[in-house]
Structure formats: structure tokens, C-alpha cells
Symmetry: D2
Subunit: 283 residues, 4 copies
């Protein structure tokens, strides 16, 4: 049995002694650091740290005390998580199902530090599969004219499910800026190209037209600017002139599953800090 840990993600203006002050605070409370990683962006003058420790005292109190210490004494922004807390995740899908199955099976296998709370879809195609997996399925049709109400309904479902994270498993609708604000939690999207190449629709068709020799997939946090959010993870695979568009789609499915899963895992493990539309990934 692993001991429960506190994981803090800190960032803020760089200043001398931060590593020492953080580690000493933890040590002096009788706690034991199990991992610590830090990074400075010298151009931006920002310090980043991920530190994980086994608290000697009561875990909630220690977490709260650290948050206060970080903000009041260090002037840093801190996200403090506990390893025993398992965040809830809302899975958005349309009809394409490879990321849907892959994500659910990874949660089932214990690979993810969280729980799937619900599936939300604008189509009914995956309702039966979701039921077999025992995950609540919500069908919210979206049309041009009903988009605002549909998003309100989605927000209601997400909030009722207690989700701390939304993941878009090839969900084929653009979420509005208003949705992203009201959701109040991060949204991870998987785009089927090596961004910034081939943003927008039909990236495999764009890639085929341009004659690239590698295709890619990109997991990023969704922002109001489509396909422009902070990139979490990317990967590519080799293609050749024999590969027609269906081959690109087939090869791309494996990339999308793997890149999407990595991004969700890194997020749930509290390994990602966002700043200046980029990510620091402590892996």
C-alpha cells in the first residue's frame, strides 16, 4: 500500500531560495518529499515546481497549510491535490468510437488516477456501448439553432456529475467560449494532426494533399481559439505514397488514442502547468 501523498503544482515570479523554502517547510513539519521537480523560464522570469510528499500530519490540514504558505509567504500560485482524491471525468463523444473505447478501457484497467463520471454525446450511437461499460450516457443533440441550449444542458450534466475535467474523445462540435467559461474545469481535446500544421477540419485530407511524410496527433487544452490552446502532448507516425486517406485515418487512430491517453494521464497525475499558452509537463 502506497502512503497518501500531497502533490503541489506551484508557479510564480522567480526569487532566490524557493527550492529551499519549499523543501524546508515540508521537512520542518516532519513530512517526507518523495518527488520534486522544478523549472525556471529565464525569459519569462517564472519559477515552476511540482513537489509530492507524504505528510506527517492530517492530510487535509497539511494541504491547506501548504496552500496558505505558498500564496501568503512565497507569493506563488499553488494547485494542491491529494493522491487519495480521484477526480471525476466527463467524456464527450460523437460517433467515432476508437478514443471512446480506448479511454474507458484505460480507466477500467486502473491506468488513470481518476474516474469516468459520464459520457455526453450529440449522437445516440454509443449509448449501448456506454451502458455495457456501466457509465451514465447523456444524449444532447446539437444543431446550429439549438447550440446555446444544448451547451447549457451539457454544463448542467457536467456539473451534476461532479466532473473536474472534460475530455473530448473526437467530439465533433466546437465548444463555445461561453461553454469553456461556465464549465469551470479544464477541457482536453485531441486534434488529429501535428498542430500547428493542419488545424481545422479534415486534417488527414490536408496532409494527403500536401504530401507530408509523417502524420501526427496533438492533445491540447481547449480554449476560445480553435486548435490554438496549450499543447500537452504530440506524436507522429510515418506514412508513404502507398497510403491513401483511409490508411492515414487508420494509422492516425492509433496516434490519437495514445496521445489523448497520455494527456489525460498527465493531467490526472497533476503533472501539467499552463502559462503563456504553453505547458510545463513534469513527467
Amino acid at each position: 500500500m502506497k502512503s497518501p501523498t500531497i502533490i503541489a503544482l506551484l508557479h510564480g515570479p522567480d526569487q532566490p531560495g524557493l527550492v529551499s523554502r519549499v523543501s524546508s517547510w515540508i521537512f520542518l513539519r516532519g513530512s517526507n518529499i518523495v518527488h520534486a521537480d522544478q523549472h525556471e523560464d529565464p525569459e519569462a522570469g517564472i519559477f515552476f515546481q511540482r513537489v509530492e510528499w507524504i505528510p506527517s500530519g492530517q492530510i487535509d490540514e497539511e494541504a491547506a497549510a501548504f496552500e496558505k504558505f505558498a500564496s501568503q509567504e512565497l507569493g506563488m500560485t499553488a494547485q494542491v491535490a491529494q493522491s487519495t482524491h480521484r477526480p471525476k471525468v466527463a467524456l464527450f463523444v460523437s460517433k467515432i468510437d476508437h478514443c471512446f473505447h480506448d479511454t474507458i478501457l484505460r480507466f477500467r484497467s486502473g491506468e488513470m488516477a481518476g474516474e469516468l463520471a459520464c459520457v455526453v454525446s450529440n449522437h445516440q450511437d454509443l449509448a449501448e456501448d456506454a451502458a455495457r461499460y456501466g457509465i451514465p450516457f447523456h444524449h444532447v443533440p446539437v444543431t446550429k439553432t439549438t447550440k446555446a441550449e444544448a451547451e447549457a444542458e451539457q454544463i448542467r450534466i457536467v456539473h451534476a456529475s461532479g466532473a473536474d475535467l472534460i475530455v473530448m474523445a473526437r467530439y465533433m462540435q466546437v465548444l463555445s467560449e461561453s461553454f469553456l467559461e461556465k464549465a469551470g474545469c479544464p477541457v482536453i481535446n485531441i486534434h488529429h494532426s501535428f498542430l500547428p500544421a493542419f488545424a481545422g477540419g479534415k486534417p488527414y485530407h490536408q496532409a494527403h494533399m500536401r504530401g507530408v511524410k509523417l502524420i501526427g496527433a496533438t492533445a491540447h487544452y481547449a480554449t476560445a481559439d480553435l486548435d490554438e490552446g496549450p499543447i500537452i502532448h504530440q506524436d507522429v507516425t510515418r506514412i508513404n505514397h502507398r497510403n491513401a486517406i483511409p490508411d492515414l485515418i487508420r494509422k492516425g487512430r492509433d496516434l490519437e488514442k495514445s496521445v489523448f491517453a497520455q494527456a489525460i494521464r498527465l493531467h490526472l497525475d497533476n503533472r501539467i502547468l499552463v502559462y503563456n499558452n504553453k505547458t510545463v509537463v513534469f513527467d
Copy 2:
């Protein structure tokens, strides 16, 4: 000792029996096919073939006879090369030297099916190194106002050297449309990004700004549209938040060397066919 071979690159409108007609023509002249590879683009209706054979007769005559057969009887465009012919290559450089050294060393090691004819540079920095390698070095300064004359001088040097191919080893000037026309031979360029992402100047800075997780390099044939020519080869390498721009440049150098070398090798081995601003690479 390998027997001399003829290598033909054919392309043209798809029609039934092409594989049979080509292979039978070769067989009936008592020659022996050592490699044959073909490809159809069903959308474009184009047939592509690379076929290599040991001719039974006199090699020049056989090559000429095949070219006539391909164009007159099959209605195909054919580039016919002989393995004993070693094409001459003009190497364009500026000050950055990693692709310069790498390319020359690969030619020296016998890895390339051709010979370096000359080095052309708009700076004198690599003159001494070129001399040590025993390769004629031509300094042709280029300024905004002298570009036309400089290009005329470069063309003169290239033609005098007998070059069949120009390779731009991080040559930092854009070649004009007029240069490309007058050169009368293909030009291979190495761009330090995964095109079409980060075309234009300072791609590593662009990549750093965007926060991508992989950087790339792309070798392509130069065309009048900058960074838009047919892609020959691409590769990527992983980066992380610890990598500042100098790290990207360092990691990128290895990519550039390797991708550039592959493209030159594939070209000299007569493995590349260009159509619709894309390449078919028979590797």
C-alpha cells in the same frame, strides 16, 4: 563487383498491362530485372514505376531503346539512368556548417551515388574547410542590389561544374524563380521545421513560442513558392519545457543532417518521382 544496371523512372496515364509490357520488353531483350516497384494513384489516374535491370546488350543502346519504347509505345514519361554514371552535385552553403560537413563526409565515405563538384557560398567562412576536403570553393557575395548578377554568376559556376543537382545545405538566401528555371536541374533544400508548420524564417523560435512537443526537419525540392515545394523526407525529435532555443537548434542540427542526407541519397539513387507537388519515393 556489381553488374552495371539501368534504372528507369516511369510515370504517365494508368492503362492495363503496363507492368507486363515493361517487364516483357526487358525480358525479351535477354535482360534481367533486379528490382521493380510500381504505384498507382487511383484518384489522379497516374501509374508510376521504378524498374532496375542488368542489360544484356550495350548499356547506352539499351537505355536509349527503353526510353524510346516508354515514350512512343507506352506514352509514358521516362527518366533513364545508368548505375555507372555518377551525377555531379553543387553544394550551396552560407556560414552554418553542420550540413556542409555531414554532406561532404557522406560523399567521401561512399554513401552517396554521386560526386561533389563544387561548393558555392555567399560567405568565405567555409573556404578553408572546403579546400581541406579538396572541393572547389566559389565565393559569390549576395546583396539585395546584386542578387541578379550573383545568381547569374552562380548559374555560370553550376553549369561549368557540370552539376546535375544543387543541394542547399542551410544556404540562407532564397533562390529566385528565374534561378530555378535557368539552373536546369533539381534543387534540394533542407528546412528546419516540420513543414507546413513554421514555414519562413526562424522556425525554432516559432516552435518555441507555440510550445510544440516535437521539432522537425523537412527536405524538399525548391520551387518558386518558398517552403512549398514537393516534400521528399521529414523527421521529428521530442523536446520538452527544459529545452530553450539553443537546445532546439542543437537537437535540430541532427535532424537536419539526417533528413537532408536521406533526401540527397534517395535522389541520387533515382528513387523519387514528382507529381502534383508531391513525391513518390520508392525506398
Copy 3:
């Protein structure tokens, strides 16, 4: 709708004119080659070819005629398949389920040119999941003392299912030489290391002990020599000192799924020829 095709895999002693004779035979019957790929092993003096064509005549007759032509006139061994025939596959599993789910989902998605006929397992853990997927599940317990009878029962199930291929999705028993003979069909296994490194049991533990920087997976045809059969496909992924054995197992799962799936797909697409305990893969 794609036209039905015949796919022939040929191999035998190299001799002049083979490409011509095969392509002419097809052309003269009014049929049209859609793909052709050949390879010579000059050391072994063996010629290999994969050729696919749309027959003009009745497909069964054309296939039979070609087989006769290949063996009697060319003296080659030919495996002749028809694109409309969908081979049946028996899936062997134990308790570990990632390759099990992944393989089934790929068959369901239409990615594989065949059909799952049955699941055979020495444990009951995956019976319910197999039922949900609608695939017959056969529980055949295996102990040291009952291995012979168990294998006889497995053979009976495989034959009754009509399976043309057995795939071992992390099936944790060694199949005996006698089983492999009686099965009468190829068996593809996935080994969780980069063979020939770390053959045998617990390869991730062996890799961790040795301190390698990459872990791998290998799909191969099972033979009487454990982990020594012809390799079909391999891949690796990077690890570092932070990765404990559970991390290797997690990362390895993705490798195993992907490598296993590639091997099955290549086999069902009739792209693999075996000789001298190696494979020629026409991809």
C-alpha cells in the same frame, strides 16, 4: 465498391523473367494488376513476389489456374487468396486483457480483413467480456498434468470454429510442438520484449535489471523453439530511471497492442512470406 481481387504470394528459386512471366500471364487473361511487389534474396537465391489483380474471369477459376501455373510452369510455391474471403481467427487469452480488448475492437471497427471466430482461454476471467462482444468463449483449463488433453480440446475447438489463424493475445501457456503441428494453421504470438533480448519469462523485470533505455515488443510466428520464431513486427518505446517496473508494464501494454495488431493485419492482408526463420513483409 472495390472489385474483388486475387492476391498471390509466390516464392521459389530465382530465375530470369519471373516478373515478366507472372505479369504477362495475368495480362493475357485480360486481368488487371493493382499491386505488385517483389524481392530477391541474392544470398539464398530465392525470389519472392506479392501480386494482386482484378480477375477478368470467374474468380475461383482464375485463382486455381494461377496456382497451377505458378507451381507447374514456374516451379514456385504459391499461396493464393481472394479478397472476398474473410479468414477466421481464434483468439487465445489468459487473464491479461489489453490485447484481448484491443484486438476485438479492431476487428469490430473493420480494420482487419477477417473475423474473430472464438476466444479460447485457460481462465474464466474474460468470459463475460467475450459474451458482451458476442464472441463464443471456450474455457479450457490447463495444468501440468492435463496439458495434453487440454491441447487436444483446444485443437478440437479451433478446428470446429473453422479458424485459419490463431493469435495469442498474451496467452500465458507455451504451446507444444505437437499442438503447433496439429493446429494446421499459423500461430501469431506477442512477446513483451525486443527479441532476441529478454526472451523467456518476465521480460520487463529483466529489462529493468539490465538498465536498458528502451523497451520493446515483438510479434512473431510461434514455433517449437520458444521466442525463436520468425519475427513479423517490432517496436520500442523510451524509458528512463524514473520508470519502475509497473511503468514499464504500462508503457509496454501500448507497444504490445500496437505491434500485435500490426502483425495480425499484415498476416490477414496476405503480406507476409516466411523463409529461413525470417519474414518478408510486403507493406
Copy 4:
């Protein structure tokens, strides 16, 4: 201009508060940590740390004081380096020259935090090239009967050159256990396979015979057990049935150059700790 830094590599028995004690020691002396990375091997109970800081005081004194603190107060083994110190490197070669040129060019380009002190070879083939690069070249022929004297001469040369590191750029002789002891400095070797697969001679021939689908290269510290030393870095590249042994050798050269260079760079950047015949690489 970067400020001079001290880099300490620490390892020893894990104990609470190590991160805090190290960072506080540095902070309390008015110095500023620029990087810190740590790792625990929970099975072995060992703590590892790489910490780099800008000392406020005189750099030699600070380095010495830290070394004393680490050993006497923490009971840790510490290697303490200064960023302004540029270690000297002895390059051992035979006739094969790709790693030779590549390594020298990387040192010349400023990519390596050290300096080439000398080239030692059992052949004279590369004497002229070494001279052109301006690096002292020592020819020490080695035969079965003269091996002991030859090694004594090599040791004398290495010591006279002041080398802190020996790198074997495809040096084709096995260094004896006695040599490794007397050298008194680490030795990095590049082996042209993905170890532990294909240890010993002619690994590309072994790989070709076995029919693997990937070939590799491994950089490791040389120990008395041939090809069994701690692995620093590894990489692989894909091959196929078309690749004969010369193709494997050509593809392998690129792997060897890149893997060897990475290992040397990581070593000179003080990023490698060795324990239990494995490495911790803080990259």
C-alpha cells in the same frame, strides 16, 4: 554571459530531509540554485541528486565546502564539478571513421562541454585527418603478443594528455580489465546493437541472420565484462527485408554517431550517475 556554476552529483542512502538540507545549505550561503533534480530508487534505498547553482562566494571554496558538507554531514558520495572547467577527452579509434569525424566536429561546434586532448589509434589511417583537425594523434599498434605493452603506452599517452574521459569511437580492440583500472577515468564505448541483443562481434550480421525489424546502437561505460557495462543511451531504427547487411551498416552509422554523441554530452554535462551496473541520467 552565463554565470559560472557548481554542479554536484550526489548519491547515498535515502534519508528524510535530503532535498531540504542540500537546498538550504546552498541558500544559506547566499547562492542560487538554477537546476535541481532528484530520484529515489525505493528498492535499493538510494537517493540521487543533481543540483546546479551559482555560488555567491569564491567558486573553488564553495565547491570544496559542499563536498565536505555532503560527505561529512549527509554521508553522501558527491562528485562536484565547475561549469568553467572543461574536461579533456581522449578519443580512441581504429579505421572506421564516422564516429571519429562526428565527434570531432561536435567538439569544434561547441556542442560539447569539454575539449579533445588527443586521438589514440591502433592504425595510422586517420593520422592525416586528425592533423587537419589540429588534434595530436598517437599511433599505438596492438597485436596479441604486444597488447600489454601497447596498453601501457596508451595509458601513458592518456595520462600525459590530462584526459578525464576516454571515448571509444568504434575502437576495435577490447580494453583489458587492467587497462580500465589503470586509466583511472571513465571509458565510454559505442556498441553497434541494441544491447543486450547481439553482444560481441558482427552485430549487424547477427541482426540480419535473426531477421529483426529494428537495429540499434548502445553507448555504455566500458567494464571488465565486454558489452555488459552500465548503459547510458540507446536508440533504434527500422529496417526491412530489402536491407542487406551493407544497408544495415549504413543505417547503423547514423545511429552510432547520434547515440555516442548523446552519451558523451550527457557525461560532460555531469548528468550521469552509475549504481548497480545501471545509470541514472538527469536530462
